[in-house]
Amino acid sequence: MHNRFDGKVVLITGAGSGLGQASALQIAKEGARLSLVDLNTASLEETKNKVLESVPKADVLLTTADVSDEKAVENYVNQTVQQFGAVDAFFNNAGIEGKQNLTEDFGIEEFQKVINVNLNGIFYGMKHVLKVMKKQGSGSIVNTASVGGIRGVGNQSGYAASKHGVAGLTKNSGIEYGQYGISIKAIAPGAIMTPMVEGSLKQMDPDNWEEAGKEFVKPNPMKRFGKPEEVGYLVAFLLSDQANFINATIIPIDGGQANKY
C-alpha cells in the first residue's frame, strides 16, 4: 500500500489527546517520523505508546511545551529540525475551550488565556515552522479552527474570537506562502467526542452530561458526534501531497452543522 508520509517529518501539537492523538496515529501508520508536542508530558507518553503499539518501528520525538510561550515554541521547532532535519508537515492543533457564559461575564483574564493558547499559540507555531518550510521550499500546515471559528455559536467569547482569528491567519498566510510551495489550511471541527467536548458537556450539565450530549447532537444533520479518527483522516489527507492545490481555506468536519447556525 502506498504510504503518503513515508520518510516525512510531521509535527503535531496537542498530540497528547483527542484530535492530535488520533492524527498522530493515522499519520504514523503511513510511515511518518513524528514530532509530538503537548503541555502534558504523561499524555504525550500515552500517545507514543499507542503509536508504537500499531507501528513498532515508528520514530517518535516528544517535546513538552506550552504553545502560548514563544520560546517554548521556538524550542519544539528547533528540536524537530535537530532530530529529523526538516518539518514537512505541521498540524498546529493545541487548544483549549474556555468558559461557557455570556460575553459580559467571560472575564478579561479568561479571554486573555484562551487567546494566548488558541490564537497566539497558532501564530507562534506558524512563525517558526514557516521559516523552516520557506527554506525547504515545501511544506503543508493544517491549523485547527472550529465551527466556532466560522459561525457564531454563543457562550464562548474567547473561543470564538481565537478560532475566527485562526481562520483569518490561515487565509492571510496561505496567500503569502503559496508562492514558496507551501500550503496552509484550517479545519473546522464540529462536535467531535474528545476529552474537550466531554468537559464542555460537563459544564452544561455536570450530573447528566451524557444526556446533554444526546440533546446536543439532535439538530446535527448526521445526528451524532464525530470521532477523533474521522478528523485524523482529514488531517492526513490535507497534510499529504495530494492536497497541495488546497490552500488558504477552511474545511468543516461537522456532520453538516455549520450550515445550521
Binding site: G174, P221, E230, A243, I246, A248, T249, G256
Partner: protein, 256 residues
C-alpha cells in the same frame, strides 16, 4: 498506486470522457471502485473505459445527456443492473462557460447552460439520492462547483449563476440526508488544466503565463488529478463525518 478506499463501491462519474472527470474516473478505478463513465461523448467515453480496463480497473460506459431526466433515470437503472448498487457519484459534467456581458447575454446559450450545469446536476443528484435512499446504507455524492460558485467572473453570467446554484443544492441535500448517512459535498476547483480551460483561453486569447497567476496563488494551473484526489477523499468512507461542505481546491483564490 493509491489506497483501495473505494473497494466494493460502485461510482458514477458524469462528464468523465475527458478533463477532470476522466482523471476522477481513473483514480476511482485505481482505488478499486467499479466506475460508470457517464458522458454524452460516446467515442471518448469508450476510450476512457478501455484505458481503465487496460490498467486493471473495472468500468462501464453509459451515454447520457444529464439535462434529460429520462436519460438520467436510465443511467441509474443501467448502473444498478450492471453492478448491483450505487454508492458514490461525482456530478461533474458541465458545459463550457458563456462569453458575453450581463447586459447582452445570449438567451439560448443561457437556457442550454442552465439546463446542463444547474438542472442537469440537480437531476443527477435527485435520482442518485433516490437510489441511495432505497438501498438504505448511505452513500456519498460530490457535486463539482467552481470558484465561479463563489466569485463573479465577468462575461460568465450563466456559468456563475449555475455554479452558485450547485453550491446551494449541495447544502440542501446534505441537510436533508445526513440522518440517512448519505453525504453530499462539493469540490470547487480553481483554474485546472483541462480541455474546458484550454478552450476558454483560446476564446479569450490569453496564455497560461498571463492567466494562471491571476487565478492561482501557486502561479500554475492545477492538474485534473489534484481535483480527483479531493473528490476521492470525499467519496471514500474516510470523510464519514463530512457533509454539506465545500472543499476549495483553488490554491487560495477564493480566500482573497
Amino acid at each position: 498506486m493509491t489506497f483501495p478506499v473505494l473497494e466494493g463501491k460502485v461510482a458514477i462519474v458524469t462528464g468523465s470522457a475527458m478533463g477532470m472527470g476522466l482523471a476522477t474516473a481513473k483514480l476511482f478505478a485505481a482505488a478499486k471502485a467499479k466506475v460508470i463513465v457517464a458522458d454524452f461523448n460516446e467515442e471518448k467515453g469508450k476510450e476512457a473505459v478501455t484505458e481503465i480496463e487496460a490498467n486493471g480497473g473495472t468500468a462501464h460506459f453509459i451515454k447520457v445527456d444529464i439535462s434529460n431526466s429520462d436519460q438520467v433515470q436510465s443511467m441509474i437503472a443501467e448502473t444498478v443492473e450492471k453492478y448491483g448498487h450505487l454508492d458514490v457519484a461525482v456530478n461533474n459534467a458541465a458545459l463550457t462557460p458563456d462569453n458575453a456581458p450581463a447586459a447582452e447575454f445570449d438567451e439560448a446559450y443561457w437556457d442550454k447552460l442552465i439546463s446542463i450545469d444547474l438542472t442537469g446536476t440537480a437531476l443527477c443528484m435527485k435520482y442518485e439520492l433516490q437510489q441511495m435512499i432505497k438501498q438504505g446504507n448511505g452513500g456519498s455524492i460530490v457535486n463539482i462547483s467552481s470558484v465561479s460558485g463563489f466569485r463573479p467572473q465577468p462575461n460568465n453570467i450563466a456559468y456563475v449563476a449555475a455554479k452558485h446554484g450547485v453550491v446551494g443544492m449541495t447544502k440542501v441535500a446534505a441537510m436533508e440526508n445526513g440522518d440517512k448517512n448519505i453525504r453530499v459535498n462539493s469540490v470547487a476547483p480553481g483554474a485546472i488544466d483541462t480541455p474546458m480551460l484550454r478552450g476558454s483561453l483560446e476564446e479569450t486569447g490569453q496564455t497560461e503565463e498571463e492567466f494562471a497567476p491571476q487565478l492561482s496563488l501557486l502561479g500554475r494551473f492545477g492538474q485534473p488529478e489534484e481535483i480527483a484526489e479531493a473528490s476521492l477523499w470525499l467519496a471514500s468512507d474516510q470523510s464519514s463525518y463530512v457533509t454539506g461542505t465545500v472543499i476549495h481546491a483553488d490554491a487560495g483564490y477564493t480566500s482573497r
